[in-house]
Amino acid sequence: MRKAAAIAYAALLYGFIFLPVAMLILFSFQGSQVPVPPFNGPSLKWYQAILSDSRLTVALLNSIAVAILSSLVAVVLGFLAAWGFARFSLKWPGFWKAVITLPLTVSYLIIGMGLLIFFNGLGLPKSLFALGIAHVVINMPLCFAIILSQMTANQANIERAARDLGARDWQVLVLITAPMLWPALFASFFLAVTFSWDEFIMAFLLTRFDTTLPVEIWNLLKGGLSPRTNAVGALVFAVSVILAIVFELVAFRKRNT
């Protein structure tokens, strides 16, 4: 009896979370013009439609480019910052760590607005480049925190050994530190890509003509519900799921060293 209740509760909970997504995906295979019951599919015509819509495919490529490039920069900056904190003594390290990770707690809207005003003052136009900078701002603290958590005193000793054998600072970083932290670097990169891929508010504020997929979906939605928005949404969701799986595999894989 208790078991049945527990199962029912779990079913309700998961249903509450995933039913909207399930409906979205289901009606992306809708055969007719409107994504409402009754379902008369399955049909792949909406997927065909979005993949032949150049605005959507350009937005898709923009999203990928912004996600990958901004995440690379965020990982490199986060890695260097974490290395600095782990290997050099600093006055008030707790305070400076808090300052670096602060953007994690501030809403994207506030950071986006701040950057919009700042870029305006600089004369930097709304663009994918501006958006990329914004994504570095929000993802760098995350990468920093993940990478710092994986740095140990034992690694500091290994770096010392490399220096003793003649390695310069950059050789230590490239040949020793980065390879030792490879799982953390990889995991933080994928998490950053996931966040950049899904991010709407900053993309809305900071881009104009060339924009990313979330903004393009929003544009589509302004024209009313259509199975094609469902199809785009399903694709975005699928990519997020894949990225999340890769992140889990890398971040929680048991290290064998």
Binding site: N157, I158, L165, G166, P179, M180, T257
Partner: protein, 332 residues
């Protein structure tokens, strides 16, 4: 003595505390020097200063006539074997050993060849393609040795290299270290808190305590005739007899003296150490350890080591003697 390296008046302060206090030491070419002391004695600090990982507050480090005091580790003719081995976990054993040569611009085939040769020297001819995590503790130790030796340092620095190994392996590796050092001829400086290890390995023992050198010299001399009470007790068990004790008066000692347990004899009558009552007997296999309280000085307990054939029991009164040449007169 052919001096390879020297440290002069080294002092290392952390705030008000001195980890090293005016330490001077000379290291001979081809020698095996062991820095022996308890934790906090400054032995590891001294090794770190020799390796260039720490800069002393004052004093100098000279290696091969060159002032290295402020020189970074990479530019010194030293190489260090770290306590936890500090192998590069993502590289093969061969790449670990070849790393120093790679940093010196030696091309791949040449450095692989040297790495293989050095691995054979340390007794790991087949480990080249393996990863460090596939090796046992003793094997990792050998890889760390090979990695440091392949760059042909003038001075090899070993920071408690056997500390992480179990006792049996430690004694075995200790013999191998000694024979390796004799084969390659490099001067080794080895830090340990294990006096047996120190005596087995060293040509030159440096006994340290609280940032100072208590005594230094060949192990036989430091064991048989230590300069200070600390050196006497740290180099092995001993009975310290204060100058004011009636027993010291009987021995006609001019100052504080120490006796090694194997030098105290149980005699049938007389004896220059007087009578003592046995308070403890511990069977140790090849010998027995006896604790006996002097009847002339109740504050004094003798530590005695004797053969297992001796028939004595707790509570017996025995007469103790020591040969005058075995009475160790201590300074300071």
């Amino acid at each position: 003595m052919n001096a390879l390296a020297a440290v002069g008046s080294l002092t290392m302060r952390y705030g008000p505390t001195a980890a090293l206090d005016d330490v001077s030491l000379t290291i001979a070419a081809g020698s095996y020097t062991v820095l022996l002391g308890p934790s906090g004695s400054g032995k590891t600090t001294l090794l770190s200063i020799l390796g260039g990982f720490l800069q002393p507050t004052s004093g100098s480090v000279t290696i091969k006539g060159e002032d290295c005091t402020m020189m970074p580790p990479a530019r010194r003719p030293t190489a260090t074997v770290f306590q936890d081995y500090a192998l590069f976990p993502h590289m093969t054993v061969g790449d670990n050993v070849g790393f120093g040569l790679r940093m010196r611009g030696v091309e791949r085939s040449a450095r692989d060849e040297k790495a293989r040769a050095m691995l054979a020297t340390v007794g790991l001819p087949d480990a080249f393609a393996r990863k460090p995590h596939q090796l046992s503790g003793g094997q990792r130790q050998r890889v760390a040795l090979a990695r440091a030796l392949v760059v042909e340092p003038q001075l090899l620095l070993l920071d408690e290299p056997l500390g992480a190994l179990d006792l049996k392996l430690r004694r075995q590796m200790q013999d191998e270290l000694k024979s390796l050092q004799q084969r390659v001829g490099t001067a080794f400086v080895h830090v340990t808190h294990d006096q047996e290890e120190a005596m087995a390995l060293a040509d030159h023992i440096v006994v340290m305590n609280k940032g100072r050198i208590e005594d230094q010299g060949p192990p036989q001399r430091v064991y048989a005739n230590p300069r200070t009470a600390f050196a006497a007790s740290f180099m092995g068990e001993s009975t310290l007899i204060p100058v004011a004790s009636p027993v010291a008066v009987k021995l006609k000692a001019k100052g504080q003296v120490a006796l090694r347990p194997e030098h105290i004899e149980i005699v049938s009558a007389g004896g220059n150490l007087g009578p003592a009552k046995i308070e403890g007997i511990v069977y140790q296999g090849s010998f027995i350890r006896i604790q006996a309280r002097s009847l002339d000085d109740l504050a004094l307990v003798f530590a005695i080591r004797t053969g297992t054939e001796l028939a004595v029991a707790i509570g017996d009164t025995v007469n103790l003697a020591v040969a005058p040449r075995h009475v160790m007169e201590l300074g300071g």
